[in-house]
């Protein structure tokens, strides 16, 4: 059995494969000791472990046989689920990536957002709390029912937050603000996709891919289908597992 582990800033995903089939998968909160959590999740016997995500280097120092970047992992994973994919959009807790693949599934280019949380999962989390929602999924759900009457003009997390709170105090409907905040994430994301000259099929991965409001706004704005895997948060781990299974693979 081969294992892939994706040690992200918010969650750790694990996928184990054998004979080209997924045998196990798990998803846990990262917690304070990412490497320990990762090792706990990996409770089987594996002939090879490949790590990815921001914790990959520590994993390599401790237990992993090899590492690949999140970029390669997401590309491999997405191409396995959706063969022929040409663009992968990954929005995680702290960053956004756009990965371009050629017709053979190889990465040919990628973009990452700069060192700031605007437009990432963290942004949505902060806004959800600021508006008093119990969870990000409730926030996304509500936003779907909002009306597009408001526009948030600040991209910066700190300013956008105070803008949203001000709107709330002025009596703007909460769900409209929620929608506007989602729309601002989508706008930023669309900008990135366009800069990358994205092609279809387009696959959306990472925690934010579970947000239905983001999904539908994205599809409308781009005018294309946005393919979301069943477990968008495990695509990186899947890619790492595929890399582990690949014969003669070295990184």
């Amino acid at each position: 059995m081969y294992a892939g582990i994706d040690i992200g800033s918010r969650t750790i995903g694990m996928v184990a494969m054998s004979a080209g089939q997924i045998k196990q998968f798990r998803l846990e909160d990262t917690g304070f000791e990412p490497t320990d959590t990762a090792q706990k999740i990996l409770d089987g016997t594996y002939s090879r472990i490949v790590a990815t995500g921001y914790g990959r280097h520590s994993a390599k120092a401790e237990f992993a046989d090899d590492i690949i970047t999140e970029i390669k992992a997401h590309a491999l994973g997405a191409a396995w689920i959706f063969p022929g994919v040409r663009t992968v959009l990954d929005i995680g807790g702290q960053d956004t990536k756009v990965i371009s693949l050629n017709e053979h599934g190889a990465v040919i280019d990628f973009l990452m957002n700069d060192r700031c949380s605007a437009g990432t999962g963290k942004f949505l989390e902060i806004m959800s709390t600021a508006l008093g929602y119990n969870s990000v999924s409730e926030f996304g759900q509500e936003a779907l029912t909002g009306e597009g009457t408001i526009k948030i003009s600040n991209m910066c997390t700190v300013f956008a937050e105070s803008e949203a709170v001000t709107l709330l105090h002025r009596g703007a409907p909460k769900k409209d603000i929620a929608l506007a905040l989602h729309a601002s994430v989508v706008e930023r994301t669309v900008g990135m996709l366009q800069r990358a000259g994205f092609k279809t099929p387009l696959v959306f991965t990472g925690g934010v891919a579970k947000n239905r409001c983001i999904n539908s706004l994205l599809a409308t704005k781009l005018g294309v289908d946005v393919l979301v895997p069943e477990e968008p948060q495990l695509v990186g781990a899947l890619g790492a597992a595929l890399a582990a299974a690949k014969d003669g693979f070295t990184a």
Binding site: E70, V107, D109, M112
Partner: protein, 423 residues
């Protein structure tokens, strides 16, 4: 560096406390970036020594030169002709500015959002931590980019700055302007040193500096081999040291290193395993001790085979043609320097053509474009480079970063992913 230099530093007027902090920061970084490399050429020992003595022995040499009435002239740009300074008996040194230092002081006179190189040289001067700066009798600036151009007005409050007008284009009248600037510079340098430039002294200076450039080119050519005989980090270090070390000694040491590398090459040995992905870095200069991006690249599984930068090929690419008369020597100097492909020129197509050739000659798999934050000339020109690279199907990565280490993690991911693409 031991305390027996304390007296010298004090006499230079350095802020000893701040200077101590600077000196303490350097060795651990140097250790991590340089001394942990494997398969380093033996001859790097000299360059390690020079770095170790960066504020010691070399400063002592400059002081001895000054005691004998010699002058030291500092520069921030590879457009300042070293030949002229040498011909008038002076020593020309590049002032480094590759480290975040004296930021608080610098921000009292400069905007916060400005290129870190500019902020750094202002900080070094205002915080009084650079013994090179404090050894300078004259500092030479240029009108290359707007940030530097205007910063020199401020710097002039603290040290005499002569500003050379570098043109923006390379037409006939620009050549004429630049020639006049070079001639004026020759006049000013002679006034400063009190030594007349003669046909003989200029011819000799041209030969010496050409010799330095030849040695660096020899080194560069050896890096075309696979396996690469020397790391990009070590090469960059040598290119950085070229700007302030004694010319004759430096040239000899680079040639010694090349002898060693030639033997390594014929024995099939290298600093990296054969078939290691090869990249070229291009963009803004990486002043010593800015090794940030090269370190990330070479610890992520690739080797840098050339630097298309001013701390790199642009410094040693062309030579000054020798000539009979003083006038034609000055003309040749002006012509050689105006051949530098800096992004402050428009258009700067020479840089693009050069890059394309380098990729072929150095068997590079990709190009990494590094721009210092807030450097408009290079950040904007990156688009020209990217467009050309896309047309030619050459993998390309664009990085914009400063001297801080905040973004190191993200940069590492981007660089690693780029190198994965090259495999």
């Amino acid at each position: 560096m031991s305390n027996h230099y304390n007296e010298m530093w004090r006499s230079l007027g350095l802020n000893l406390k701040a200077h101590d902090q600077l000196l303490q920061a350097l060795p651990p970084t140097y250790h991590d970036v340089y001394l942990t490399q494997t398969n380093r050429p033996q001859s790097m020992e000299y360059f390690d020594f020079v770095v170790n003595e960066i504020h010691g022995l070399r400063i002592q040499e400059l002081q001895e030169h000054k005691k004998k009435g010699g002058k030291v002239i500092g520069a921030f740009c590879v457009f300042v002709p070293e030949e002229i300074v040498r011909a008038a008996g002076g020593i020309c040194i590049g002032l480094c500015s590759g480290l975040e230092m004296g930021t608080a002081e610098a921000e009292q006179v400069l905007p916060r959002s400005i290129c870190p190189l500019i902020k750094s040289f202002m900080g070094f001067k205002l915080a009084k931590v650079c013994p090179y700066f404090e050894s300078c009798d004259l500092v030479v600036g240029e009108t290359t980019c707007d940030g530097k151009k205007k910063a020199f007005e401020i710097l002039n409050d603290y040290v005499p700055v002569h500003v050379m007008e570098t043109p923006q284009m390379k037409k006939g009248r620009d050549k004429q302007l630049w020639l006049e600037e070079v001639q004026d510079f020759a006049g000013l340098v002679q006034e400063t040193t009190g030594i007349e430039i003669t046909r003989e002294s200029l011819a000799k200076a041209i030969q010496e500096v050409n010799g330095k450039r030849q040695a660096l080119r020899r080194l560069s050519n050896l890096r075309k081999n696979d396996p690469a005989p020397i790391s990009g980090k070590d090469s960059l270090l040598i290119e950085q040291i070229a700007m302030y070390d004694d010319v004759a000694r430096f040239t000899a040491k680079v040639n010694e290193l090349c002898d060693e590398l030639e033997q390594k090459i014929s024995a099939g040995e290298g600093a990296f395993p054969p078939k290691t992905p090869r990249v070229i870095v291009t963009g803004t200069p990486m002043a010593i001790p800015n090794w940030k991006v090269p370190h990330i690249i070479e610890t992520s599984g690739a080797v840098i085979v050339a630097e298309e930068m001013c701390t790199g090929m642009r410094y040693f690419e062309n030579e000054v043609a020798e000539a009979g008369s003083l006038d034609s020597m000055l003309e040749n100097i002006a012509a050689r320097y105006l051949g530098i492909n800096c992004a402050v020129f428009t258009p700067n197509t020479g840089r693009l053509e050069n890059l394309e050739n380098l990729v072929k000659e150095y068997h590079a798999g990709g190009v990494i474009h590094c721009t210092l934050s807030f450097c408009d000339p290079y950040a904007v020109e990156a688009n020209r480079v990217e467009k050309m690279m896309k047309q030619k199907g050459i993998p390309f990565l664009k990085i914009e970063t400063g001297y801080d280490q905040e973004d190191a993690g993200q940069l590492k991911t981007r660089v690693e992913a780029f190198i994965e693409m090259l495999r």
